[in-house]
């Protein structure tokens, strides 16, 4: 069920990633201020935007879980947060590399944009120990949903707070009406953003498909009273 449409989605993702990479290196002009280093922008910013939106989507799935008590939504929320955390790791590392190249420092503690993203990332890093600490599956799913909603609401609030704060060195992306980017750069950026959004969706679907297959095997094993072999996860939510 979850695997339906995964193949065309994967093909679209690979095609879009290839297109965006081609645009980044062969079409988008060099930045007058930063030069070639600015190419990291087309990777770092879309990753950050998709990761933050992914956290909010995880919260929306968690609301659906609490409203319907359907475990499917808990699995959706878990997977959305999981993939967004992986994207978050990539944001922090690529951001550090860009900061080193532009500012000469891997990290600047006084900069609200950097620190706020780190806070959001660390908040979601606690999702796993919080979830895994609860043995009972129903309670685990409910508490994890409450966490996902609270943290998901914190993301836009945090974003607005950063926008209102005074920036020291980190630029405010799209601070002006036209985004502050020339046409070619804007087009390249939008393609990169679409590629990252497609990648996020594909990975979420891929993981949900694997979880669904695992859940079906467990159901089959239970129905047949088959012995349980080791190595299966007791903590990740099941999808049937």
């Amino acid at each position: 069920m979850y695997g339906k449409g995964l193949r065309p989605l994967s093909i679209a993702t690979v095609a879009m990633l290839a297109l965006s990479l081609s645009l980044v290196f062969f079409y988008a002009p060099l930045d007058a201020d930063q030069g070639f280093v600015q190419k990291i922008f087309y990777l770092h910013v879309p990753l950050a935007i998709v990761a933050l939106i992914g956290f909010v989507i995880g919260g929306i799935f968690a609301i659906a879980h609490l409203r319907t008590d359907n475990r499917k939504w808990d699995a959706y929320s878990y997977v959305a947060i999981h993939i967004s955390v992986i994207f978050g790791v990539a944001v922090l590392i690529t951001g550090g590399i860009w900061a080193k190249a532009s500012w000469g420092h891997w990290w600047v503690w006084d900069e609200p944009t950097l620190v706020s993203f780190l806070i959001v990332f660390l908040l979601y890093a606690t999702y796993y120990p919080f979830r895994y600490a609860i043995e009972d599956r129903d309670r685990q799913a409910r508490y994890a949903s409450v966490f996902a909603i609270t943290a998901g609401a914190f993301v836009p609030l945090n974003f607005m707070a950063v926008r209102m704060a005074e920036s020291l060195v980190h630029p405010r992306t799209f601070a002006t009406a036209n985004g502050g980017l020339p046409g070619e750069m804007m087009f390249t950026f939008l393609c990169s953003l679409a590629a990252m959004a497609l990648l996020w969706t594909t990975l979420v679907k891929f993981e949900l498909t694997a979880k669904s297959a695992s859940g079906q095997v467990k159901r089959l094993r239970r129905a047949l009273d088959a012995p349980v072999s080791g190595g299966s996860s007791r903590i990740a939510p099941e999808v049937s």
């Binding site: 930045d31 201020d33 930063q34 030069g35 070639f36 280093v37 190419k39 990291i40 990777l43 770092h44 990753l47 992986i86 790791v89 990539a90 590392i93 690529t94 590399i97 860009w98 080193k100 190249a101 500012w103 000469g104 420092h105 600047v108 006084d110 020291l168 060195v169 990648l199 990975l203 891929f206 993981e207 694997a210 297959a213 695992s214 095997v217 089959l220 094993r221 047949l224 088959a226 012995p227 072999s229 190595g231 299966s232």
Partner: protein, 73 residues
């Protein structure tokens, strides 16, 4: 803020291509490596599911054979 401005090369000229290239390549390689690691972990999980499915299938076949022998007896 003044201290920060003192340590950061604000308004510094862009890095030359040979130096900037290392950072850009590094950032994109990190992204690809993360993606490959994730896909490798997922591939291992899919292999485990496949193995479990084979075990369940062979258990079901054994049970079917045992049931048939019981009926024949």
């Amino acid at each position: 803020m003044l201290e920060l401005a003192a340590i950061l090369p604000l308004g510094a000229p862009a890095l030359p291509l040979d130096e900037a290239g290392k950072y850009v390549a590094g950032a994109y390689i990190v992204f690809v490596v993360l993606l490959v690691v994730y896909v490798a972990i997922m591939a291992a999980k899919v292999q485990r599911i496949e193995r479990e499915l084979r075990e369940v299938a062979s258990f079901a076949e054994q049970r079917k054979g045992a049931d048939r022998e019981e009926v024949n007896a």
